[in-house]
Symmetry: C2
Subunit: 426 residues, 2 copies
C-alpha cells in the first residue's frame, strides 16, 4: 500500500492533525539495534528514538516479555516476586533517601501521580515549571507542558520560569551570576504564588531540559533553585523520562549532574524499551503519607510482564556496559559536532551530555538569529540520506539526537559525515 493511501486511511481513522515525522513520512516495518527499515527495505540509522533504550527489539528484552506473558500477567493485588525483585533493583540505583516506587504505565501517569503526592505532602498546589517544557498530556500535566500551551488556558497555580541556559542568557551575565539570575526567577515565582494566596507544592523540571533545546544549564542553578523551593516548603520533582537510565553517560540520572537529590523522580519512555512502563520513585515518608490517605491503584502498573521487561532492560544496560558507552560515544560525538561547527557557520552552538546531543542552528553567529527553516530542511534532508533525527527548542532550531544506547563510534561517524554532507548541500 502506498504512502498516500496510508495517510488517507490514517486521517479517516485517527482524525486530522496527528503528528507525523518528515515531509516525506517514513513507513517503518522492522527494527534492530540502532537501525530501522522501511517497507522498501531501506535502512535508516535511528538517531531519534530513546524509547527503544537498549536497542530496537533487543532479544533479551523480547524474550523476557514473551516468557512472562506466556506464564502469568495479573495485577498487584496478588503477591508476585518479580515486582519486588525489579523494584528493589531499580530503587537501589537512586541516591538515599529515594527508596520506594509506584509503578504506572506512562510518563504522563508518573507526573500526574508525583504532582498529586507533592500536593498531599506539602498541602500546596503551586507548581513551578519551565516555560518551554513537555511532561505529558492529561488535563493536569498539560498545564505544565508549556511547549504546547493548552487551549484551556493555564491556571494560577502554575508558574513558569525561563529555561536556564548559557547560550541565550542575558547579555554579559555569566558563571555564578547567571545561575543566580535564573534562580531568582524561581524565587519570584514562589513570591508570586504567595501573593496570590497559593502555597507552593513543587518545582518540576526535566533534568536535561530536552524540549527547551538541551541548554547548558549554568552551574549551581539547580542547587540555588531547589534551596528556594525547599525554604518555601516545596518539593523537587525530577522528570527523568528523557535523561534517565544512563543516557547522560556520566550519571544514571540527570539530577546527579547537579548534585541535588530530588524528593520525587518520574520515569517513563526508556524504562520498558517500548513496553508501556513508567513509575514514580519517592522518599519513603512522601510515599507513606500519600498511601495512607489515598486509595491509589493502577490496573496495569507493576504487572508481572511489565516488571519482567523492566528488569531485562536494567540487566542489559549493565551487562552490555551501555552507560559507559553513552559517555564515551557521547564525548566523541560532541567533539565531532564541534569540528563541524568550525566548517559550517550555521552551527551556532553544540550541546549535549552522553547520548543526548544537539546543535543549535543560527543564521548569524553574533545575533544568534534562529535558523528555523534551515533546521527543518536539514532534518528532512537527513531523513532522505538515511539518518532519522528531529528538532526541538523554543525556535525549533536545535537538532535533537537521542539514539538507542548501543550507539557506537561507527554510527557516530555516519551521522557526522551525513550531517557534513547535508549541511554543504543545504
Amino acid at each position: 500500500m502506498g504512502i498516500e493511501d496510508l495517510i488517507a486511511r490514517r486521517e479517516r481513522l485517527l482524525g486530522p492533525g496527528n503528528p507525523l515525522f518528515y515531509e516525506n513520512p517514513v513507513h517503518l516495518v522492522r527494527g534492530e539495534g540502532v537501525w530501522v527499515f522501511d517497507a522498501d527495505g531501506r535502512r535508516y540509522l535511528d538517531c531519534y528514538n530513546n524509547v527503544p533504550h537498549v536497542g530496537h527489539c533487543h532479544p533479551r528484552v523480547v524474550e523476557a516479555l514473551a516468557r512472562q506473558a506466556a506464564t502469568l500477567n495479573t495485577h498487584t493485588r496478588y503477591l508476585h516476586e518479580t515486582i519486588l525483585d525489579y523494584g528493589e533493583q531499580l530503587t537501589a540505583m537512586f541516591d538515599a533517601p529515594l527508596s520506594t516506587v509506584a509503578f504506572v504505565c506512562t510518563g504522563t501517569e508518573a507526573n500526574e501521580l508525583a504532582m498529586r503526592m507533592a500536593n498531599f505532602y506539602t498541602g500546596g498546589t503551586g507548581i513551578i515549571c519551565s516555560n518551554w517544557g513537555y511532561h505529558g498530556n492529561s488535563a493536569a500535566v498539560a498545564q505544565i507542558s508549556t511547549i504546547f500551551p493548552p487551549p484551556e488556558g493555564i491556571g494560577k497555580h502554575i508558574r513558569m520560569i525561563p529555561s536556564p541556559g548559557t547560550y541565550r542568557g542575558p547579555d554579559g551575565v555569566t558563571g555564578a551570576a547567571l545561575a543566580r539570575h535564573y534562580a531568582d526567577e524561581v524565587k519570584r515565582a514562589i513570591d508570586g504564588l504567595h501573593a496570590d494566596g497559593l502555597r507552593l507544592s513543587a518545582i518540576l523540571v526535566d533534568t536535561i531540559f530536552s524540549s527547551e533545546g538541551l541548554p547548558d544549564v549554568p552551574p549551581d542553578f539547580m542547587r540555588l533553585a531547589v534551596e528556594h523551593v525547599r525554604n518555601a516548603g516545596g518539593l523537587f520533582i525530577a522528570d527523568e523520562v528523557q535523561p534517565g537510565f544512563g543516557r547522560m553517560g556520566n550519571h544514571l540520572w540527570g539530577y546527579q549532574h547537579y548534585g541535588v537529590v530530588p524528593d520525587l523522580v518520574t520515569l517513563g519512555k526508556p524504562m520498558g524499551n517500548g513496553h508501556p512502563l513508567a513509575g514514580v520513585i519517592a522518599r519513603p515518608d512522601i510515599m507513606s503519607a500519600f498511601r495512607n490517605q489515598v486509595m491509589y491503584f493502577n490496573t496495569f502498573g507493576g504487572n508481572p510482564v511489565s516488571c519482567a521487561v523492566g528488569k531485562a532492560v536494567l540487566d542489559v544496560l549493565k551487562d552490555e556496559r551501555l552507560v559507559d558507552n553513552a559517555r564515551v560515544v557521547g564525548d566523541y560525538v560532541i567533539g565531532g559536532l564541534k569540528r563541524l561547527q568550525q566548517k559550517h557557520d550555521l552551527i551556532g552552538d553544540v550541546r549535549g551530555r552522553g547520548l543526548f546531543f544537539g546543535a543549535e542552528l543560527v543564521r548569524d553567529g553574533k545575533t544568534k538569529e534562529p535558523a528555523t527553516e534551515e533546521t527543518k530542511r536539514l532534518v528532512n534532508s537527513m531523513r532522505e540520506r538515511g539518518v532519522l533525527l528531529s528538532r526541538i527548542g523554543q525556535y525549533d532550531n536545535v537538532l535533537k539526537m537521542r539514539p538507542p544506547m548501543p550507539f557506537s563510534r561507527d554510527h557516530a561517524d555516519l551521522v557526522l559525515q551525513t550531517l557534513d554532507e547535508a549541511l554543504f548541500a543545504l
Copy 2:
C-alpha cells in the same frame, strides 16, 4: 519465600496501604485460561479477572505480542499498517457515527482524553457522574471516581447522581416512573450546574455500573438521561472499560443494552488481555474538533506491539465465539444463582448480564439490611475453597464475578457448587 516475607518486602518497597486481596493473600505464579496457580501449585478458578479477557496467557495473543515485539516497536509518528488494520477492525464494531479512535495506554488516560474532548467540543466543563463509580486515578478522573472520594475534595463542575437501580430504588416506584425518577436527578444536576454559572460538558457513566454493584437499571433511564444531557448541549461518554468487548453477551458494548449511541466511548482493561492498551472511540466531528485545536500525542499509544495484541484479542473473540459463550453461560449462571437464592436467605438479589454477574447479600429480605461482614467472610471462604472473586457496591455486599470469557458451564457449576457449600458453612 514465605507470604510474610513478601508482604514485608512489598510494604518497604511500595509503601503502606497498597491494596492486596484476601485476608490470606494469594501468591500467584502461573495462569492458563480461566485458571491461576499459586506458588504451592494449588489451582484457583478465576472468577474475578476481566483483564485477561480471552483467557490467561492465551497462546495466540502471546504469539502476536512476541512476534511484533521482535519485529518493530515504535510510535505513531511513523506510518505503520497494524494501527490502521486494528483501528478499522475495532471501530467497525461500533454503531454509526462512531468511527474514529485515539489509542492510549490505560482506562484513566482514556477517560482523561474523552473528558478533554468533550470540554473542547461543548465549551463546558460540567461532568455528571454516578455517586459510586470508578473511572481512574489521575487528578481529573479521580474527581469522578466517587467510590474513593478524593481527599482533595470534589470540584463544583462535578455533579453526582444516585446510581439507578430497581432493587434499592424509592419505595413503591417502579417501571417508567422509576426511570423518570432517576432521569430527573440528571435534570436537577444540569440545573444545578447552570445555577452556578457552569456549562455542561458530558454525562460519563460505566454502562454496567460495575462499582455501583451491577444494578438492574430501570428501562428507559439512559434514554431519558441522555435526552436531558443533549438538550443542554452536553455529550454522552460511555465508559466501556468493564462492560465492553462482548462481556455482556447480548451485545458487544454496554451502551447497546439501552439503545442509545454515545458520542464518545472509553475502552481499557480487557482490550489488550493484560497489555496496557486503551482508547477513545469518537464521533468524527468531535475527534476533528479536538485534533485541530490540541497537540495531543501519546508516546506508547497505538504502537505496533499494542495494536498487534489488540488485534489478536479481537480475532480470538470472534474465532472462539466468546461473545455467544458469554451470553449462554451468563444466562446459565444467573439461573443457578437464582436457585441458590431459594436455598439461602442471605442472597437478596441476583443480577448481571453475560459474564458479569453478582449477588447482593442482605441480612433481611424485607429491610434489605446489607450483609457486609458476611460478604467479606464469604469472599475469603471462596478463596480458601479455590475460587477467586470479590465484592463491590455501596455497601460492599455484592459478590463481584467477571471471569475470563472462555468460562464454561462446567466452570459455572464449580462456582455455584462452591458458593452453595460456602454459604451453608458461613
